[in-house]
């Protein structure tokens, strides 16, 4: 017999448990295999869109865009038999919501060890939501140089845009409510590859 447990109208019986205060895991939408396949498909799409990999560089947005950018660059490199430069962007100093955030975020290093002038930059993030992070990332990027183009690749697009920003490459479109949170977890940081939807209690 399936036991049922309700909290604030949410059926918890299929939840793994309470992960963080005020967040309940509702549904796993991607596992390791699904994430790997999505990145492989995006890698092919990037190559196809750019007609090859000439002048192509990949830049991840801290934190979880970082490992995803590494994987995407490795996959593109594997397919084309080249090494794709990978960089890491910290956008804290460019945020427009610093005062709205709870605790002040720590500033980390931006590590883009190559010249981005004239390059085709594929910007990578885990979740595309309001678009504000991407706006900040584009500002941060253009302060480093003048790329020929910036393209956006995200693992999950959850909708609810507040700025006119659209991803060029999407791993999975996930319709969500604003009460929900999409958590991408990666092996390098979280010890597991998965994407889950959580709901605020």
């Amino acid at each position: 017999m399936r036991s049922t447990l309700f909290l604030h109208g949410v059926d918890l019986s299929y939840c793994k448990g309470v992960l963080r205060v005020g967040l309940i895991e509702k549904k796993k939408i991607m596992d390791e295999t699904a994430m790997r396949r999505a990145i492989t498909r995006i890698a092919h799409e990037v190559i196809e869109r750019n007609k090859g990999v000439k002048d192509l560089v990949v830049v991840g947005i801290r934190r979880r865009g970082g490992p995803l950018a590494e994987r995407l660059a490795a996959k593109i490199g594997e397919i084309e038999g080249v090494v794709i430069p990978v960089g890491l962007l910290d956008i804290t100093l460019y945020r427009d919501d610093l005062t709205a955030l709870g605790p002040q975020p720590l500033v980390h290093r931006t590590e883009v060890g190559f010249d981005i002038n004239g390059k085709k930059v594929v910007l990578v993030d885990d979740v595309l939501y309001t678009g504000r992070t991407v706006r900040a990332a584009m500002d941060a990027l253009t302060d480093l140089g003048r790329p020929r183009s910036i393209q956006l690749a995200v693992l999950v697009d959850r909708g609810h845009r507040e700025l006119p920003i659209k991803a060029d490459f999407v791993g999975k479109n996930v319709p969500t409510s604003s009460r929900e949170t999409v958590s991408v977890r990666v092996q390098e940081i979280d010890g597991i590859d998965e994407v889950v939807i959580e709901e605020k209690t």
Partner: protein
């Protein structure tokens, strides 16, 4: 975070080791910003910083101003020598005037110890102490600690000699207070008349002989001989001071092989530090200036960036 429940930075005595770590860690990406073609980030747009220096300064004031500008804050300097202070306006009225113009942070240097504390009590603005008398100069010590940490990897347990006029030095005091939090062995050395009688209460070892003090140290922080404060004949002559305490390569031969030499500037070359040492690879004098901007950017961000 460091300034969540703290309005001001008045001295390192008020900060915990965790607070200092946060400031130094934040200064690392700030230094990256300094080395780019476009040395500007939009973080502190709309914030106003006012520097008020009742004593002369080249690097501290310029460094604060540039740190603010690199973070897109508006910075102004109250030139005390051409201000209404000369007409007899009191410090309290000066503070209120600056506050009324919408200033968020006031950075003050004054020859009287405790002035920044008085200012801080009398304003809603955040206050940073840029040097008060012979008391503290917290941002200098933070940039010294940043410079040491960058070269040595860690501050933990280092042997540091502070050489010169300890008596009049706020740089020495802030360094002692800051480095003590990392378990450093701190030695102070100088003419007996320039070593405060109770300095050992701060947990430092007192030396009168410079070779003895430098034996086996990782870092030598050479203080400026503050010629403007030496009016009481505390040592016979500059040349005698130089003979006994000037930091030369020969004297440094007893220190660790990879010894690091710091000087807060401005240098009296040939008095407290030999020019050849100052120009050599073991000296980080110029990098200290760069690091000073990075550390001050970190402080301004931590104070005003978002809901600090």
């Amino acid at each position: 975070m460091v300034f969540t429940h703290r309005k001001d930075l008045l001295g390192l005595a008020d900060l915990s080791r965790d607070d200092i770590d946060t400031i130094l860690d934040t200064a690392v990406p700030m230094k990256d910003v300094l080395t780019r073609d476009i040395k500007k980030v939009p973080t502190l747009r709309g914030k106003v910083i006012c520097t008020v220096f009742y004593e002369n300064s080249t690097r501290t004031r310029t460094s604060f101003e540039l740190a603010g500008k690199y973070l897109s804050a508006d910075t102004v300097n109250l030139a005390v020598s051409t201000s209404s202070v000369q007409k007899g306006e009191s410090l309290k009225d000066t503070i209120k005037t600056i506050e009324a113009m919408g200033t968020d942070v006031m950075i003050i240097r004054h020859s009287m110890s405790g002035t920044p504390h008085y200012v801080a009590r009398n304003t809603h603005m955040r206050v940073i102490n840029a040097g008060d008398g012979a008391h503290e100069h917290p941002t200098q010590a933070l940039l010294d600690m940043y410079s040491i940490r960058e070269k040595k990897g860690s501050l933990e347990g280092l042997k540091v000699a502070i050489v010169g006029d300890i008596e009049h030095s706020r740089v020495a005091r802030s360094n002692i207070i800051g480095l003590s939090k990392y378990g450093c062995e701190i030695r102070v050395v100088g003419p007996a008349t320039l070593l405060p009688a109770e300095i050992e209460a701060l947990g430092v070892k007192k030396y009168y002989d410079v070779e003895e003090a430098l034996d086996g140290v990782d870092v030598v922080n050479v203080l400026r001989l503050q010629l403007e404060r030496q009016k009481k004949g505390l040592f016979p002559s500059i040349s005698e001071y130089s003979q006994r305490f000037c930091i030369t390569h020969k004297r440094l031969s007893v220190a660790k092989k990879d010894v690091l030499v710091l000087h807060p500037g401005p240098m009296n070359r040939g008095v407290e530090i030999d020019s050849r040492v100052a120009e050599s690879a073991i000296s980080v004098v110029n990098e200290q200036v760069t690091n000073g901007v990075a550390v001050r950017m970190a402080l301004l961000y931590l104070m005003m960036g978002g809901a600090a």
